[in-house]
């Protein structure tokens, strides 16, 4: 056995811990600190006075913020639901053995691999009110019926939801597929011998055994959906009438466009707390399973 050398490990881990401390740990603490101060980037002479809970109570009474939270919640709910549904479908399909399975997996990975900004521009093009393919697919060449998807509140949200589902269903599929692949084949064989139908095999073997993988995918997608920014920034800039003004975009606007560091930090602390709660549950689940699998 090799002697467990404390200083050796310390030097190996130090760079990682320093980087994470400087660029993640410290900034989060500072966000908390800033959220209790009035700090306006454009007006440095004002100083940054301690204001207590003022930013938070303003936030509670800010109709835009409340609307933003609602919109983000709707976005998270709808996208996660459809991503899991499509992901399950993709995973069941990719689990079959057929020639070209690798090629299909590569196809499915492409939406995940391309930059969100590119997929946002792509969907902005497809949802165009005058020559977008979505309109053409629905109404043919009759341009009078065309819907200006990105400039009506309800359809604008629908558009970024569609773009997100397209982009990330494949990731959910991979997580679920990983769960499918560990189900032992003999379970199905035994069920087939007992004369179980396809549906009842799914219901009694597949579903209970992939539920943990589904839950992991659910948590991961929820966390990720709360961080949505790129799609709304490129496709709608948060409009029309704040219909797609998701939380991270609202925080960004307050902090970096209007320069309200303190108020923006209060928003980001709220997002952080929501996500932290989900992340802790997620890490507990994933970490345990992964690290205790092989001892």
């Amino acid at each position: 056995m090799i002697r467990k050398d404390q200083t050796f490990h310390f030097f190996l881990l130090a760079p990682l811990l320093i980087i994470l401390f400087l660029f993640i740990g410290l900034p989060i603490c500072q966000s908390f600190f800033l959220s209790f101060h009035r700090d306006i980037v454009g007006l440095p002479n004002l100083g940054n006075a301690f204001v207590g809970w003022v930013n938070y109570s303003n936030l509670l009474h800010d109709p835009v913020a409340r609307h933003s939270l609602l919109i983000t919640g709707v976005f998270v709910g709808i996208t996660t639901f459809f991503e899991l549904l499509l992901g399950l479908f993709f995973a069941l399909l990719m689990h079959h053995r057929f020639p070209g399975r690798g090629a299909l997996r590569a196809c499915v990975l492409i939406p995940w691999a391309i930059p969100t900004v590119v997929s946002a521009q792509m969907w902005r093009f497809l949802f165009n009110d005058a020559y977008g393919m979505v309109n053409y697919a629905l109404f043919g060449a009759d341009t009078t019926k065309y819907i200006p998807w990105l400039s009506l509140p309800a359809t604008a949200l629908l558009s970024i939801v569609t773009a997100d589902i397209w982009k990330t269903s494949s990731f959910a599929a991979l997580l679920i597929l990983a769960g499918l692949q560990v189900i032992p084949e003999d379970l199905y064989q035994a069920a087939r011998v007992d004369g179980a139908s396809r549906w009842s095999r799914f219901q009694h073997i597949t579903w209970p055994l992939i539920r943990p993988a589904m839950l992991v995918a659910l948590l991961f997608r929820t966390i990720d959906a709360f961080r949505v920014f790129d799609l709304a920034f490129v496709m709608t800039q948060g409009g029309p009438a704040d219909a797609t003004n998701v939380l991270q975009l609202y925080g960004y606007k307050k902090m970096f466009v209007e320069g309200w560091m303190g108020y923006g930090s209060a928003i980001s602390v709220c997002i952080f707390i929501i996500v932290l709660f989900l992340a802790v549950v997620y890490v507990q689940m994933v970490g345990r399973r992964l690290l205790e699998a092989r001892v």
């Binding site: 030097f11 932290l276 970490g287």
Partner: protein
């Protein structure tokens, strides 16, 4: 008959999934090879004329190659630093006692889940203090912090599979412990390092939010920022945007086609594995 039906529905399903994933993207990319009038034509023009006019315009008028160079520098150096630090930390975590390593690994994974907005403001102030806004290192360092967690997970799980006896043998032969890591362990873990590198590169290549706020000088902006802020004079220059998008995504698509198996394994390391 039932067998045939089952096969048929499988083929239909595969076809639908492939269309869903590829068609919108192919359509968009195809626009970059069309002429100006073809891009916005209704009814749509199915086959492009394969003119390279939009590529020329994107390069000449919008300075796409400049953004591309910045992206290569930023994503390349971020990946390099991430792998360097990730190998050290991953090796240590693979060899530390289980309990300790588990706590650290879970802490690291939690870091990776945080919303970027929660760190954006302070990072921006910190970089301004250092005078590193609008510099490459100002972008590379936060990227390293964001890509390290997944890289460390992948590497730690990989190193764990390599028996400790190998290092012991090397050390008996006169290697230092660090020497054993460099000469024995790292050569054996090239596949794991490669997987971690691909995923870190894709992340850094695609990142938009931090790139948008840290780099406001067009001379230093990366491809995603360039694509997002594409402005024409009167109309949206769809052809040029599609051309720039194709240039940006081509290396990624190539990576996915060549290394899909590695990518899938790497992704599941950060999430779930049997």
């Amino acid at each position: 008959m039932r067998r045939f039906l089952r096969k048929f529905s499988l083929v239909v399903g595969i076809f639908l999934v492939a269309c869903f994933s590829l068609l919108p993207f192919l359509w968009f990319i195809m626009s970059s090879f069309k002429s100006q009038t073809q891009v916005t034509a209704i009814p749509p023009q199915l086959f492009p004329t394969f003119s390279l006019q939009f590529y020329r315009s994107a390069i000449m008028h919008y300075g796409i190659l400049h953004f591309l160079l910045n992206s290569v520098i930023v994503a390349g150096s971020a990946t390099f630093v991430t792998i360097l630090l990730g190998v050290l930390a991953g090796y240590s975590l693979a060899r530390l006692p289980r309990r300790k390593a588990q706590i650290i690994l879970m802490g690291i994974l939690t870091c990776a889940m945080f919303p970027q907005i929660a760190i954006a403001g302070p990072i921006w102030r910190f970089l301004r203090l250092l005078g590193w806004l609008n510099t490459y290192q100002g972008l590379v360092l936060p990227y390293v912090a964001l890509t390290l967690p997944l890289a460390v997970w992948i590497l730690a799980l990989f190193f764990r599979e390599i028996p400790e006896e190998l290092e012991a043998a090397a050390m008996v032969d006169g290697c230092t412990r660090f020497g054993a890591l460099v000469h024995v362990i790292i050569p054996l873990s090239v596949p794991g390092v490669f997987t971690a590198a691909i995923l870190s590169f894709i992340y850094a290549w695609n990142e938009f939010f931090l790139a948008l706020l840290i780099v406001t000088d067009p001379a230093r902006q990366t491809m995603p920022v360039g694509i997002a802020l594409f402005q024409g004079e009167h109309t949206i220059p769809w052809g040029e945007i599609a051309a720039a998008s194709f240039i940006t995504t081509a290396p990624l698509v190539l990576m996915v086609l060549l290394f899909q198996r590695k990518i899938v394994t790497g992704l599941s390391a950060g999430a779930i594995k049997g």
